[in-house]
Amino acid sequence: MTENFQDHQIRDAIKINYKYTMGGQSKFFIEVMKNKKLFGTKCTKCGKTWMPPRINCSDCYEPADWVELNQTGIIQVSTIVWYTTSAFIKAIPYGIGFIKLDGAETALFQGIFSENLVPSKIKKGKRVKAVFNKEREGKMTDFFFVPEDEYENWISKPEYEGGV
């Protein structure tokens, strides 16, 4: 159609601010923020323990009760990320994985930190323990997991502390 096509690009950005409710799951975030506790839920009918918590059991359509879980668990699967989204690219490399807390039946997706971040250190079957930021705001980023044998080192750092 046109000869000597010349493109024209415009710089732009979309930003939307939110203040969204955690609804029935609010207790989970409040307990993390105020008490450094990890709460899951247990179905009143089938007894399945959900983590992340659901106040309703999706399997049997009955309510689920809050239940405090251990802060230790086992890595089900993990990876180390070396290239990622614009929001996280400054954090690479970082370890992430699915952790089944002792007593839970579903696995939680969380950051796995290690002083020696190599695949063998955070592989399936390794035991991990939760470490909390001293400054918490009631978000998932308030805590992370570390290999159990590194736990004491991590909670001795000034910005972190152990759970209850």
Binding site: D7, W82, A87, F88, I89, F98, A107, L108
Partner: protein, 402 residues
């Protein structure tokens, strides 16, 4: 009883990293025009005025005002789901000629801090993950797929890094024969293994690239196929879809996508094919190889080989004519080059792969044409948070209906 539905026209634009000379709407127009031209080469005499509905809600720029249009949003499975819904429009009698359209212009995203597009594209797509529990931890497409692949490896010792690399060699190689592909490359297993690490154990060459492109299909009822005197209708004989839990941590077996298994079984059953014999009942499969390891697992989940044998099926058949998923193999997988070879135009990919399979069944795929003996093919789409959504389309030419 639902009506028979055929693909009568296919339009696929080249897959490119960037179209600086096209907007989203201009790309949609190009694929629509190509699909109309293809339908007319296939015996029809139609224009956009004859199209009765769209599944994809672009209307104005493609001259489809005042007609129904429905938008589908199923992440990477959008293409397959769009074909499924367009099929439903025609099968149900809502429409006799339906335009099934997908467009992607993702590389309009731009990351100012690194001065490239990809991290911002990844971020925009990561917003489709759970925003409360998963996005804040750095979840993205590669890390969700790699979790399934790593869990599969833990359970079956398969796929290994070398086996995954074979998929990359195959699909980049197939793309050498496809002029519309973004990433044609003749590479070796060592090249893949030595490429930079993205997300352990995925290397750069294990991953597809994001593309800009558009793809369109024109679907017609049997009555319309006869009326328009279509020479080579490609009948949609099976559509199957399923969504598994978006939280990978809730899944009983993290190393399996049950959505793939359920979608495949539903699609094959509708097409009167057998999940346990499917490898010998179809001529080719256009799979959703967003990451090489997922293609290996799909061989198992879609019933081509038993669980645990996907990796050896590709590795042991390397350079053995008539065997494995290679272009000249027993069941060529991704002859077009797939997502790894063509690129991944997320909203258009599943429509491209369905259209590619239709071209193959018409014997008009070009240099990457495979041998068509049974007259049947499948296309496969997966996507969404945790790659939870799956859609599978089974197609047949006139011979394949027998």
């Amino acid at each position: 009883m639902s009506r028979k539905v055929a693909i009568i026209g296919v339009g696929i634009t080249p897959f490119r990293a960037r179209y600086l000379d096209k907007t989203y709407f201009e790309l949609a127009y190009d694929a629509t025009k190509l699909a109309l031209e293809d339908a007319n080469n296939n015996g029809a005499e139609i224009t956009h005025h004859n199209l009765e509905s769209t599944v994809y809600v672009i209307n104005s720029y493609i001259g489809m005002n005042n007609k129904p249009g429905t938008r589908i949003a199923s992440g990477g499975a959008t293409g397959g789901y769009t074909v499924r819904m367009a099929y439903s429009e025609v099968a149900s009698g809502l429409s006799d000629l339906c335009l099934c359209l997908g467009v992607e212009k993702c590389n309009d995203c731009y990351d100012e801090q690194t001065g490239v597009t990809t991290p911002e594209v990844l971020n925009a797509i990561a917003y489709s993950a759970d925003m409360t529990y998963e996005y804040p931890m750095g979840m993205m497409a590669a890390s969700s797929y790699v979790s399934m692949v790593n869990a599969h490896y833990e359970e079956f010792g398969n796929p290994t890094e070398e086996q995954m690399a074979h998929v990359s060699v195959k699909n980049h190689g197939n793309a050498m024969l496809n002029p519309k592909a973004q990433s044609p490359m003749k590479i070796t297993v060592e090249d893949v293994i030595n490429s930079r690490i993205i997300c352990y154990p995925f290397k750069m060459l294990d991953c597809c690239l994001y593309s800009e492109a558009s793809a369109a299909l024109i679907l017609a009822s049997e009555e319309k196929v006869r009326e328009l005197k279509i020479e080579k209708p490609i009948w949609i004989t099976g559509v199957g879809a399923a969504n598994t839990d978006c939280f990978i941590g809730n899944r009983e077996d993290m190393g399996r996508l049950y959505s793939n298994i359920h979608a495949a079984k539903a699609a094959y059953k509708m097409a009167e094919l057998d999940y346990n014999k499917i490898k010998s009942q179809i001529d080719l499969a256009e799979l959703h190889d967003a990451f090489s390891g997922q293609e290996v697992i799909s061989y198992e989940e879609l019933g081509f080989v038993p669980f645990g044998e996907g990796g050896s099926w590709i590795e042991k058949t390397f350079e053995k004519s008539g065997e494995g998923p290679w272009l000249d193999g027993e069941l060529p997988c991704c002859p077009s080059g797939g997502l790894i070879g063509c690129g991944h135009a997320v909203g258009a990919t599943g429509i491209m792969s369905t259209g590619e399979a239709a071209f193959q069944l018409r014997g008009e795929a070009g240099k990457h044409q495979v041998s068509i003996e049974k007259g049947r093919a499948i296309s496969h789409s997966i996507g969404g948070p945790g790659a939870a959504y799956a859609a599978i389309i089974v197609m047949a030419n006139e011979e394949g209906l027998k």
